[in-house]
Amino acid sequence: MSDRAILTGKHFMNGDEACAEGALAAGCRFFAGYPITPQSEIAERMSKRMPEVGGRFIQMEDELSSIAAVLGGSWGGSRSMTATSGPGFSLMMENIGLGMMTETPCVIANIQRGSPSTGLPTAVGQGDMMQAQWGSHGDYGVIAYAPTSPQEMFDFTVKAFNKAEQYMMPVFVMADEKIGHMRERVEIDESKVDIYPRRKPEVDPDEFKPYKPDEDLVPHMASAGEGYRVHVTGLTHNEQGYPQLDVKTQQEKVGRLIDKVEKNKDDIVEIEKIGVEDAEVLIVSYGMAFRTAMGAYKRAREKGIKVGIVRLVTVWPFPEDEIKELSKQVKGIVVPEINLGQMVREVERASAGNAEVKLVPHPGGGLHEPEQILESLEALL
């Protein structure tokens, strides 16, 4: 195809392919995955492209091993990723927790489909949004992006890799079947791809503590073979990385896993606001549902309804301060989602009774009609 890692130019490609290209552009050189619809085009693209850029692709025996290999790949020194869909995402949960606990940078793309269980393998869904935050056992901060186009599949995968390295943690790209399979123009420009470098140790091995955080609460990472002889464990550990099984260490460690995201929200959280200045009602949406919501927004504005949209670029951490402020301004908020009510709970929590919050649910398998969203908006006025 090309030995260039960053395919500068204008392309016509689907979201899955754009996700793979975004990863390669961001410096991903290790991919481990297992076939699952509707993400398979990511793995297929990686199997073709990874050898071209000197990286390594491996098809593992399941998703349990895929995510484990990705964590190993990251500690081996490569930017690493896997891609999956709901059933595979469920299988990955334990090692996502290991990645959080051991502060391992990596990217997991989840191309969501109708769920639960096998559900609707070839059809759209947004049913894993809460799982992205709460899926693995225990407490930890999460960063998750929700792309709405093939272009954003490229752009947000680059962002995901950079945030994974900056905050040393697994980061999610929470797309869906429609975005994954949609084919649109994707513009790639190498000069616009910024890479956040790995946070290498800044002291000698004798002084290095793999879990001693900087002021931004994030530590530094010594890859295998660099002479730092690190110990990495999923057990609760001290700054040296050694198991220390007591409440104080648990508080320090797990507290920091949350704080490194919470206290850096200004750097992490991204939302897009459209027409909110004079808004009397608000739509909060993300991913594929946002594209339908834009149709409802335009029709509502044509009818003279003062509506605004908050589009979640990062769904996690949830932009609660921004939603709280806007909830004081508007009469009501509608939340269209391709599930039976997930992120709406966060909107309700953040708006704290300031505005009426209404879910516009759609089961997996298809998309809202813009009219459904429009009717919900009108009902709030």
Binding site: S65, A68, G72, S80, G225, H231, G234, Y242
Partner: protein
């Protein structure tokens, strides 16, 4: 120091932990280890450090990966890059580590439950692919860390905390499984065979490809107690009596019976060469 003084000290050597030949490879500040008196894990760790020393593998090129369980705690004692992963996933983690950083000499050190119950699928696939790593399984016939439940290597009829009426499942014969799945080196020894374990580890570590060494270990707190095998030393004595060295024999005939009189076949079953996963891949991907 004068020659005279030095000679005087030489006459009365004082053996301390700091002088132990294994020290170079171990995190001294983490010792003593957590394992029970009479357990074979310490012997297996010593054999591995001795093998590293003998082969002269640079410490910074060694990656030790463990899963969960008693043996899983081994990674925490190696002063190398060391990774204590999740239950059953040491081999896929090690696969990623090796593929991402091929200069690393990767050792997976874990137990029978971790590698062959929850992690069994990964074992056969890594062997099939011939990923270049050495897998050391310390087999104590039960889940020790969680209190002595039966596992995939518990002999038929043996008692465990979840087989109070005797284990009615068939155990895996690990050398046979490894050989069938494609391992290029397969050996079994017991913790009585300290020097032979070390030799096997040296051979396994030196070979390119998926090597497997099974080490039968006493578990006086778990399996041994439930099956009236006595102290750790008694189990070692039993290994000494039961072990029969049969190099090159058919691993299919190396099943382990519960009967305390039955022979246990030990030795080197497989020692072959075939291209590793990365070698074959690079061959196919040349010029791509």
């Amino acid at each position: 120091m004068t020659t005279e003084l030095k000679q005087k000290e030489d006459v009365k050597p004082e053996l301390t932990a700091a002088e132990h030949p294994a020290t170079k490879y171990l995190r001294e500040e983490r010792l003593p280890h957590i394992w029970c008196s009479g357990c074979g894990l310490g012997s297996a760790v010593t054999s591995l450090t001795n093998a590293y020393e003998k082969l002269g593998i640079p410490v910074d090129d060694i990656g030790v990966v463990s899963g969960i369980g008693c043996a899983g705690r081994a990674a925490g004692y190696f002063e190398t890059d060391s990774y204590h992963t999740t239950h059953g996933r040491a081999i896929p983690f090690a696969t990623g580590l090796k593929l991402s950083n091929p200069k690393m000499n990767v050792t997976v050190f874990s137990g029978d439950g971790d590698l062959f119950a929850i992690g069994g699928n990964h074992f056969i696939h890594a062997a099939r692919r011939n990923v270049d790593m050495t897998v050391i399984c310390v087999n104590n016939y039960n889940f020790g860390m969680t209190g002595g439940q039966f596992g995939p290597t518990t002999p038929r009829g043996a008692t465990a905390t979840t087989s109070p009426y005797g284990n009615y499942e068939n155990p895996f014969n690990l050398p046979d499984l490894a050989a069938s799945a494609g391992a290029i080196y397969v050996a079994r020894w017991t913790t009585v065979h300290a020097r032979r374990i070390q030799k096997a580890m040296e051979e396994a570590l030196s070979k390119k490809g998926f090597s497997f060494v099974e080490i039968l270990s006493p578990c006086p707190t778990g399996y041994g107690r439930k099956n009236q095998l006595g102290e750790g030393i008694d189990e070692l004595k039993s290994y000494q009596d039961r072990a029969v060295i049969k190099h090159g024999s058919d691993p299919n005939e190396a099943e382990i019976e519960r009967d305390p009189e039955a022979e246990i076949v030990v030795g080197k079953f497989v020692d072959i060469d075939r291209p590793t996963y990365c070698e074959v891949a690079d061959d196919y991907l040349q010029g791509k």
